[in-house]
């Protein structure tokens, strides 16, 4: 998770929901660490310091550009097939799951996630969204299948919000691959993500009542298809320190009037140094 020092909180929170810089599972970590299919999932906790620049849609920045320094923390705990991942490279802040079935190259998990909140009074310090109803985090429950074919990983997932808030259905398909060149571990990842209209409508829609109370025009969310991709490298500095660098890019429209700047693409570059306990 990135905790921006600059006041990019709204962008960050909604980025998590719409997975602009993130992916819907730990496939990114698996690729980054060059873990094989035969490996046990590992327990870990790491903290780090990162920096990044991005260009894309923004709720608060009229230029839709940002530079930030961040504190990162992520971890995972696994026990008898059960797992909990938190603040990983995922679209959900916390994922609780169970590895239910394995067959040949495929592994099947039942997963329950918890996303970040959307627009709330707490994170809207500048009062940009005063008068809007409070949005709260979703809890997507679903299944995901992960297939390993050599250096390639494929992951398919289907989830439904069970919190009763967004009530959205989200489906995603990812393909990733890793390479090792000396001690540098490279990875590439591409994702196609589909979400029903309820997702955008809940987080970025503006009802007639809200439009009457604010300067925002009414907007009804639409079903969305987004493309996310990233290439990155991980380098072990020592037994406890690792260096990471990532370039992310994606496509997907954001037509909500809540956005200060709307673009149908994003590009981000980030780098970090983390301590692994």
């Amino acid at each position: 998770m990135y905790i921006d020092i600059k006041t990019l909180s709204l962008v960050a929170l909604l980025t998590i929901v719409f997975s602009s810089f993130a992916y819907s599972s730990d496939i990114a970590r698996t690729l980054r660490t060059n873990a094989s299919q035969e490996s046990e999932p590992e327990n870990f906790f790491e903290i780090g310091l990162g920096a990044g620049v991005w260009v894309g849609s923004s709720l608060t920045d009229e230029d839709g550009k940002g530079v930030g320094i961040s504190l990162n923390a992520s971890g995972s705990y696994n026990w008898n097939g059960f797992f909990i991942d938190f603040f990983g490279e995922t679209s959900e802040e916390v994922v609780v799951g169970y590895n239910a079935y394995e067959h040949n190259n495929w592994s099947f998990d039942v997963v329950l996630g918890g996303t970040g909140n959307g627009i709330t009074q707490d994170n809207d310090k500048e009062g940009l969204f005063e008068g809007l109803n409070k949005r709260e985090g979703s809890m997507p429950l679903g299944v995901r299948a992960t297939g390993n074919y050599g250096e390639n990983i494929i992951q398919l997932s289907l989830k439904q919000d069970i919190s009763g808030r967004s009530q959205a259905t989200i489906a995603s398909a990812l393909i990733g691959r890793n390479w090792q060149y000396r001690n540098w571990n490279f990875h590439g990842l591409a994702e196609l993500n589909f979400a029903t209209a309820k997702l955008e409508d809940y987080f970025f829609g503006v009802s007639e009542e809200e439009a009457n109370r604010t300067n925002f025009s009414a907007y009804e969310g639409k079903a969305s298809v987004k493309f996310n991709s990233s290439i990155g490298v991980t380098y072990p500095i020592s037994e406890h320190w690792i260096y990471r660098a990532t370039v992310s890019a994606g496509l997907g429209s954001n037509n909500s009037p809540l956005f200060a700047k709307s673009r149908n693409f994003y590009i981000g570059i980030s780098t970090s140094i983390s301590y692994v306990f």
């Binding site: 490996s39 169970y98 590895n99 239910a100 079935y101 394995e102 001690n183 072990p236 037994e239 692994v276």
Partner: protein, 144 residues
Amino acid sequence: MILTKKHKQRMPTLLCYFSLLLVVFTWATYSRSAEFNQNSNELLVTPERCVALRQGQTCYQEVVFSWRQSQKGNYCLINLLTKHILKCWQNTEQGTFNLDFQSTQSTDFVLRAEKQEIDLSKTQITVSWVFKSSKRPKSSWKLF
């Protein structure tokens, strides 16, 4: 920091202790260094550690071996894991060798007199990693 009269009285004693500590530390460092230089039968490698991201990965490291013996002779540097002779030197008492180390595990290296089996000096390149990797047991259905 405010020094009281009591503190000021203790200052010479403290300075004495500090000076003594400094002398002991300097002597210890010098004697260790002298001992290192006098030990002519040595085989050193720098750096001694190679760090991979994950256990089981091949670790890559450019290393330099340097060795010295008390007498001139024909000596060979050997990888003990693979039993491979890396290089032999003729009629000399010292040498260096650059190696592009590539291994999944820690490896011992020795210096031996040519065509001899006795290790004259020994050193190790330790392979370590950030993330452990343990084998997952084979299973199918886990639920129910």
